[in-house]
Each structure stands twice: as C-alpha cells, then as structure tokens.
C-alpha cells in the first residue's frame, strides 16, 4: 500500500518559487493501475519521482508498505529503489555499451545477486517479453519498441511492488506503443502496482483510475 499525505515539493526558478507538488494526498492499493494525466508542468513527473524516491518532498509523509520512507537515509532509500520500485522512462535510458541482457541484469548486479541466479532471472524475464533472441544485441541494434521492452524487463527483473512509467510510449510509433502498454498491463494483471504518466488521453483512459493534475494539485 502506498500513501502520500500533504506532500509539497517546491522548486526555485530564478527568484520565483514554483510548486511542483502542492499538498498532494493520494492512496494506492497493491495491484492498482492508475494513469496520471495533465498538461506539461502540472507536476506529473515530479509526483512520479517522489513516488520513486528519486526526489525528496519538502514536507508531507510518504508511506510505502507501512514504512515512512521520507525519514529513510540515503542508503535505505537506495535499497527501497533497488527492491521495490521499477522505472520505465520515455527515452529508455539503456546503457549503450552493454547488451540487452546486461542492461536487464544491471539492477541485480547492483544488488549483488550472484552470477548464476542473475542469468536465470534475466533469461526468464526476457523470455516472458519474447526478447530471448535479442538478448545479446546492443541497444543501437534494437528498434524503439524492443528497446522499451528491454527497459521494462530491467524494471521488473527485481520483482518490484511498484512500476513507474513516465511517458513510456512517447518515443514510439503507435503500434509499438500499444504493444508496450499491453505488456505493462499484463504485468499489472500479475499483481504489480502500475503508475503511468501520459499525455495520450486514449491510453490514460485504459487505466482503472485516472489521476488528473493541474499546477501541482491533484484534481478530485
């Protein structure tokens, strides 16, 4: 279970104080599928970053599985990111010098999982996304849709509770976009909590719950 209470996040832009998140309260149950929609600069990505512990709120409480993670140290937060959160980015963020399998293995490598187990889990997750035959390709040898599938594999290889996808279809053509959304939804079906930031109203409507944001506030 995820709950945000009165979260504020302000940025200083020049002399002006901008409210990235303005008193946001939100509760998500395990296995939820929600899309976050709103115009640019409405705070969608900031909300996602706070949920993923990449960004620290200025005030408020964020409870993840009963722990108040805003009180966690840097090391503990890194551990939460490593074990409980998976990220999917618009620009994939694959490391170009590593093969698909090595990119997928990266979170396990960082977590210190031993080689044999790593191989097994990477193989399984790539197989489930039908990417086995591409596992030794480098990102520049893959299509956009394939790259995003590798990125998704990387996000879920640690079996996280929460999958955060920031415009995952933004750099893809329509067909690959649908394909990626189908994969994400299939993962949600298996129990992962899925949060999807999107501009695309049609994609947003597919979610069980739509969170609309304007100027850093969540619309009721």
């Amino acid at each position: 279970m995820i709950s945000l209470e009165h979260i504020n996040r302000t940025f200083k832009v020049g002399d002006e104080l901008v409210h990235g998140l303005d008193d946001v309260s939100l509760t998500l149950n395990d296995g939820d599928y929600a899309s976050i929609m709103g115009p640019s600069g409405s705070g969608k990505s900031t909300l996602l970053n706070v949920l993923g512990l990449l960004d620290q709120p200025n005030s408020g409480t964020y409870t993840l599985n009963g722990d108040d993670v805003t009180q966690f140290t840097e090391l503990q937060q890194a551990k939460v990111r490593r074990e409980k959160v998976g990220f999917v980015f618009q620009t994939f963020h694959l490391i170009p010098r590593l093969t698909a399998a090595e990119n997928v293995a990266l979170p396990l490598t960082l977590a210190g999982v031993d080689h044999a187990e790593r191989e097994q889990r990477v193989r399984d997750v790539l197989a489930s996304l039908s990417m086995t035959d591409r596992s030794h390709h480098r990102p520049d040898q893959l299509s956009g849709g394939q790259r995003q599938r590798v990125a998704i594999a990387r996000a879920v290889v640690t079996n996280p509770l929460l999958l955060l996808a920031d415009e995952p279809t933004g750099n893809l053509d329509h067909a690959s976009g649908i394909e990626v959304i189908n994969i994400l939804e299939a993962l949600n079906q298996r129990g992962i909590t899925l949060l999807l930031v999107t501009h695309d109203a049609e994609l947003g409507k597919r979610a069980d719950r739509i969170i609309r944001m304007v100027d850093g506030k969540v619309l009721p």
């Binding site: 970053n49 960004d55 551990k79 990111r81 490593r82 959160v85 490598t109 977590a111 210190g112 031993d114």
Partner: protein, 401 residues
C-alpha cells in the same frame, strides 16, 4: 554489488570509451616510464663512477702536494706556494710499514716521434710499481724495470693507441722513439683499455720518473699513488704519511691525502642526490598525468550523467557510484603504470644497446615509488570526479537529453 561485478563494470566503461582510455593510459605510462628512465640515468652515473674508482684498486691513497683547505674561510692574503713533493719524500714514504708499494707520477705533454711520424701525447713518469698500483696489464714486452727511482734510464712503455699510430702493425719492441730531445727504447706496450678516471691509458708514453723529471726540468712529483697493506690500515697509513711529510717539511702539513673511499663517498652522495632530483622531475610528469586523469574523468562524468542518474534510479547508493568511478581511475592507473614499466624498461634496454659501457639500471625504490605515485595520483585525482558523480541529482540527470 560484488567486487568482480564492480571491476567488470569499470572495465566495460573503459572499453566503451576507447580513445579517452588510450590517451589516459599514455599519459600515465609516459609519467612512469620517465621516472624509470631518468632515475636509471642517475643511478647508472653513480654505478659508472663507482666502477671507475674501483678500478683504481681498493686500498689506494692518492697524495697531492699542497694542502687543499675545504673548511671555508677567506683565502690567504699571500699566495701559499706548497712545498714540492720530491723523490726523496717519496722514498721516505715508502719506508712506512703500512705502505705495500707506491708509484710517484710526473705528468707532462710532449711530442713523441718515430721516423716521420709524430704524436703529441701525455708523458707519465713513474716506476715499476705503477703497473700493479694502477692495475694495468701488458699487451707485449715488459713494463718499466725495477730499480732506484732516482736513476733515469732510456726505456719507455707505450699505450695501445700510441703504438698503433706510430708503428701501425709493425712491432715497436726494441725500436727507439724520440720525446723532445730525449730518446728511449720501447720495451713494452700496454693492453688496450678504455678511459680510466678521465685518462686515456691508450694514448700515453710511460718513462722512468727520473727521466721524466729531467725531460720536464722539474724536481717535483705530480702525484703519488700509494697502495696500503690492507683496507683496514688505510687511516693509519694516511696518518703515518702525513707525519713523515710533516717531519720532512719543517712541521708543515702541506700535502693532501685522498683516499678512494672518501672520493667514492663524495661522488656517491652527489650522484644519489642527482638521482633523487631526476626522479623528482619525472614525478612531476606523473602528477600531470594524475591531473589529466582527473580532467578526463570529470568529462566522463559529464558525458555519462544520464547513466549515473539511471544507476541511482536502479538503486545504486552514493558509495557505490564513488566506488565505480574510483575503480575506473584505479584501472587506468594500474594499466598505465604497468605500460610505463614496460616502456621504461624497453627504453633502458634500447639505451643500453647504444651505450654498452653505461649501466642503465632503475633503482628499486624508483620502481616502487613510480607505481605507488601513479596509483596514488589515479585514486586521489579520481576521487573528485567520483564524488561529483555521486552528488548528481538523479531527476535532473535523467531528464537531460
């Protein structure tokens, strides 16, 4: 993260950015190589000089007329003319019980001619003992005959080069040569030898000391080489000789005694200092290499901002990011140092082929120091970029591009 994974990750990164890796390796390698080659030059000079002195014989004392004051103070107002060291003084020294044998030397330059050929060479006036004291060896014939040193005789011994120049392939033994207006019969030729203490023993003519004195019209002796009975009695021999001369010279200490030990120690100190300073100069290039590593690593951090953001998003804590980047710098330093050792030793080998007489040998401390400084520099200068990477804001690094 496991250590072998850290190493592998760093290795992948270095492999991925080949140009920068090669450039940094080169900088490091040149630094280490220059430390090795420069200290080898210094150390080689030290060994070379030591060998030169050792070739003089180990229990050698050199007596110079006149007192060399090295204690400082204003120079005397009146020019101090040292009393000459005469053959009588030499014979008195020979009576010391610490002296095994001694060889007085009178030096001058004069043209030596044989038929139409003439050559200006150094003339050494000495006695039969010179052969052993200077550890010379004969190619053919005999050295100066034993006998009273005050008696002149018209014989001479030639250096190898002189013999070649005047006689070519003909044997000079028994031939008469002319030195200014003195004539002598050649009775021996020295073995071909290299330079010894700056004197080319190939291009000399050795005649009895008394003959040399009359040739150059002098009473005095230029040097006396004394071989002590054993290395243990060197200091006693030195005192004894000073005493002998003092009683003969009305209580004045007007000779200087140089022992080979003292000379060696002085040169050893000077040349060791030289080696250190050469090493220090070379260390500057290592430092430059270190700063270059810092620069390039900072650029690498800037280039890989998104990668660092990603690693953070995937749950890499600060320390791990620092460790990853430090491992990269350490890798560069270790590989660079290794490459430097290879280049340094190959350089020494090549130089050795060109200058076979000069020993090119890097002192052990220089090897360790070079490698240690290389690693130290790499890590020290890698720390700043690594911390810079660890401090990057993941949100901003991921939003870039």
């Amino acid at each position: 993260m496991r250590l072998n994974d850290v190493v592998q990750f760093a290795f992948h990164a270095l492999h991925g950015y080949r140009t920068r890796t090669i450039l940094m390796l080169l900088a490091m390698a040149i630094g280490v190589a220059s430390v090795i080659i420069l200290t080898s030059l210094g150390e080689g000079a030290r060994i070379y000089v030591t060998q030169q002195f050792s070739s003089l014989g180990t229990n050698l004392l050199i007596i110079l007329p006149g007192k060399s004051e090295t204690t400082g103070g204003a120079p005397p107002m009146m020019g101090e003319t040292p009393r000459d060291l005469t053959l009588r003084d030499v014979m008195a020294m020979q009576k010391s019980r610490y002296v095994r044998q001694l060889a007085p030397i009178v030096v001058g330059a004069a043209p030596v001619s044989y038929r139409q050929l003439e050559r200006e060479v150094m003339i050494l006036g000495s006695t039969a003992s010179l052969l052993e004291v200077r550890q010379l060896s004969m190619l053919k014939g005999k050295f100066l005959p034993e006998g009273e040193m005050t008696r002149s005789s018209s014989v001479c011994v030639m250096g190898y080069t002189l013999q070649k120049e005047l006689f070519a392939n003909q044997s000079p033994l028994g031939e008469w040569v002319r030195v200014s207006d003195y004539r002598c019969r050649v009775i021996g030729v020295l073995e071909e030898e290299g330079m010894s203490l700056g004197t080319d023993m190939g291009d000399v003519l050795i005649i009895p000391v008394a003959s040399a004195q009359s040739l150059f019209n002098t009473e005095s002796v230029f040097r006396v080489l004394i071989e002590a009975r054993s290395p243990e009695v060197m200091t006693r021999a030195e005192k004894d000789i000073i005493n002998i001369i003092r009683t003969r010279h009305d209580g004045e200490d007007d000779i200087t005694v140089l022992s080979q030990d003292a000379l060696l120690n002085t040169f050893d100190r000077i040349l060791t200092a030289l080696t250190y300073s050469l090493g220090g100069i070379a260390a500057i290039s290592l430092l430059v290499a270190g700063i270059m590593i810092m620069n390039v690593m900072l650029v690498a951090v800037a280039q890989r901002t998104t990668e660092i953001g990603l690693l953070k998003a995937l749950g890499a804590p600060r320390q791990l990011i620092i460790l990853l980047f430090l491992t990269e710098s350490a890798f560069l330093s270790i590989l660079g140092a290794f490459l430097g050792l290879v280049i340094g030793f190959s350089g020494n080998w090549v130089l050795q082929q060109y200058f076979p007489d000069f020993p090119f040998e890097a002192p052990n401390w220089a090897l360790w120091a070079a490698v240690a400084v290389a690693l130290g520099c790499g890590l020290l200068f890698g720390l700043l970029p690594a911390r810079h990477a660890a401090d990057l804001d993941p949100v901003q690094s991921l939003s870039g591009r």
